[in-house]
C-alpha cells in the first residue's frame, strides 16, 4: 500500500500520469518475467540502474 501511495505522489510531483498505464502493463509483464526466470541478477557490463 505504501508503494501505491509513493507512486501516486511521484506521478503527481513529476506530472507523469501518462506513465501509469505503462507502469501497470510493464509491471505485469515484468512480473511474468520474474515467474519465468529464477534469479533477478543481471549480467550487464554496466547496468544503468
Amino acid at each position: 500500500m505504501d508503494f501505491i501511495v509513493e507512486l501516486w505522489r511521484f506521478m503527481r510531483a513529476r506530472r507523469k500520469f501518462w506513465l501509469l498505464p505503462v507502469i501497470f502493463m510493464l509491471t505485469i509483464f515484468g512480473g511474468l518475467l520474474v515467474l519465468a526466470q529464477g534469479s533477478p541478477v543481471a549480467p550487464f557490463i554496466y547496468s544503468l540502474f
Partner: protein, 612 residues
Amino acid sequence: MRILGISAFYHDSAAALVEDGKIVAAAQEERFTRVKHDPRFPKNSIDYCLQEANCALDSVDYVAFYEKPLIKFERLLETYLANAPRGFRSFQMAIPVWVKEKLFQKTGLKKSLKSLEGGDKWNQNILFTEHHQSHAASAFFASPFESAAVLTMDGVGEWCTTSIGRGQGNSLEIERELHFPHSLGLLYSAFTYFTGFKVNSGEYKLMGLAPYGEPRFTQVILDNLIDLREDGSFRLNQKFFNYCTGLTMTNDAFASLFEGPPRKAEDRLTQREMDIAASIQQVTQQVVLRLAREARKTTGEENLCLAGGVALNCVANGELLREGIFENIWVQPAAGDAGGALGAALSTWHQFLDEPRTPLGNHQDNMRGAYLGPSFSQSDIEDRLTKAGGVFEKHAEDSVIAMTADALADGKAVGWMQGRMEFGPRALGGRSILGDPRSPTMQKLLNLKVKFRESFRPFAPSVLREDVAEWFDIDTDSPYMLMVAGVTKDRLRTMTEEENALFGIEKLNVARSEIPAVTHVDYSARVQTVHRETNPRYHALISEFKQRTGCPVIVNTSFNVRGEPIVCSPEDAFRCFMGTDLDMLVVGDCVLRKEDQDPALAQDYKEAFELD
C-alpha cells in the same frame, strides 16, 4: 541532531553520520564485508557509524538515501519505450530486478533499518535526495569555501549526468544539468570497457595507461562520438553505443572507428589501447575545462567544488588547476557514489532543515583529512594480532617512526596501518603500503610482488606540504591525492637518445627523475600533500625519512592487493602482509617483521580476490 546518510543497491554502498552538522563518521561497506564495490545494504557501515557516535538507531533523527529510485525507474521505462523494440533483452533482465526489489526500496530500507540495534524503536521517515544533489552537497558543504561554483560529473543518477550549481552559505542551487544518455562518465566507461578493463573500477587503469600512448584518436572521437559545444555541453552519438539497449557499452560501429574489436580482459595491452587511452583522456580534459569555464562564467565564483566519479580523474583535475580558471579547487575525496551517503546527510542538515553553515576558515575543510573510518586502540590491536598468530614487538611512538623510516630508507616495502581508516577510494597514510621513491626498482617490485597488478600502473607520492613546491610543480594543498602535477625540472633526469626513442610500456624501465618510483612516464605524479594537523604520525614518519635521506617524499599505495578492498582491521592487514612480499608491517605501536612470522600462516593471497 543526528542524520544518517546511506548510499546502496548500485555499487559502493556506504554510510555516513552527521551530528549537528559535523561529520562524525563515514565508511564504505566493502571494507567490512571484504567484497569489492559491495552494493548491499550497508549494515556494517551503519553499525560502525552508530558505534562511533556512541548511539543506537533510535537516537538518529533522520535517515537520508542518496538518490530517488522512482525517478530512476522513470528513466529506465522512458529509455526502453524510446528504443523499443530494440533493447528487449536488456529490458528482460532489468525489469525483474525492479519488480522484485528495487521498486520497493523504501520498504526494503525500512525493514533493513528496523533490524539494526535500536531499530525496533526507530520510527522516522526516510528522506531521498537526488543523486547529483547528493554529489553536489558532498562537494560544497564539506568544502572550505563560503561560496563556490559546484560541478558534478558521473555516469548517471536519475536523469542527470552532469550539473553546474552554486553554493553559498547553507544554500546550494543546481543551475544547469545534462541528462542521460549524454554522459561524460559513460563515455569514459565505454572506453574502459573497450580497452578490456572492468567498468566502474578500471577507469583508473585507463587513466594510468594514457601517458604511454599518442592521442591519435582524439579527432575521431570528437568527429564521431561526441558533439562538444563551446559551453561544455555535449551530446553523444548513440549510433556508436550500446548501453541504452544492450548488455555491453559499445557496438560494432564503435569498434570500426578504433581499428578492431574490444580488447579482452587479461589480453596483452597493445599500442592501440594506449593510444585510445591517451585520446579519451585528452577529450575528457577538453570537456572538463569547458564545463569549468562555463561554471566560472555563469556563477562568477572564484572557488570550484568537484564531485561525481569523473572528479576522481586526477589528471583532468591537475589540468584544471594549471589552467587557472578558478582561484581555488576542492575535490570531495569520496567523489564516487559512496560519497553520496555523506552528501545526502549534509543536504538534509543544511537544505532540508535549513541549518546554517560556517566554514572552518584557513582553507580547512570539514573532512578531517578523510580519516572518518574505524580505528583500533593499542590493546585491541595487540589482541587481534595475537589471535591472528602475528609475532610483533611493541615500541614507543618515536621508535616506531624511526624503525619505519630506517626500513623505508633500506628499500623495504612497509604495510602501514594507523588511526582511522580513510573514506573514499584513496589510501592517505591510514591504510597504506609505503616504499622509497628513489629506488628505480620499487614500482615494479610493488606492482608485481606486493600488489599483484599490472606493471604499467603508477604509484603516488606522499610529500610534506611544506616541501611540495620543491619537488612538484604545484604549491597548493592536495591532501586527497586528487591532483596530478609534474615533477620539478631540476629533479628530472636527462634522457639519452635511445631512452627517448622507446615506445609504450618499454618507457617504464627508464628512471626519469630523482624519485622514479612515483614519476609517471610523462613526468607527472599524483601528489598527496601531508599535513601535520590532519595526520601527525604520517607527517612525522615522512619528516624522519627526510632527515635520513634528504627526500621528503615516500611512495604511498593503498594497503591491498589487486581486487581486494583496502584493509580495515589489524587482521586484514596481517593477512595481506602474510600473503604478499611486504617486508614489514606497522600497526599502531606494533612492528612485525616478515622473517619473524610463522611461514605456515602465509596463504595464496594472489588468487583470493576476483580481478578488478
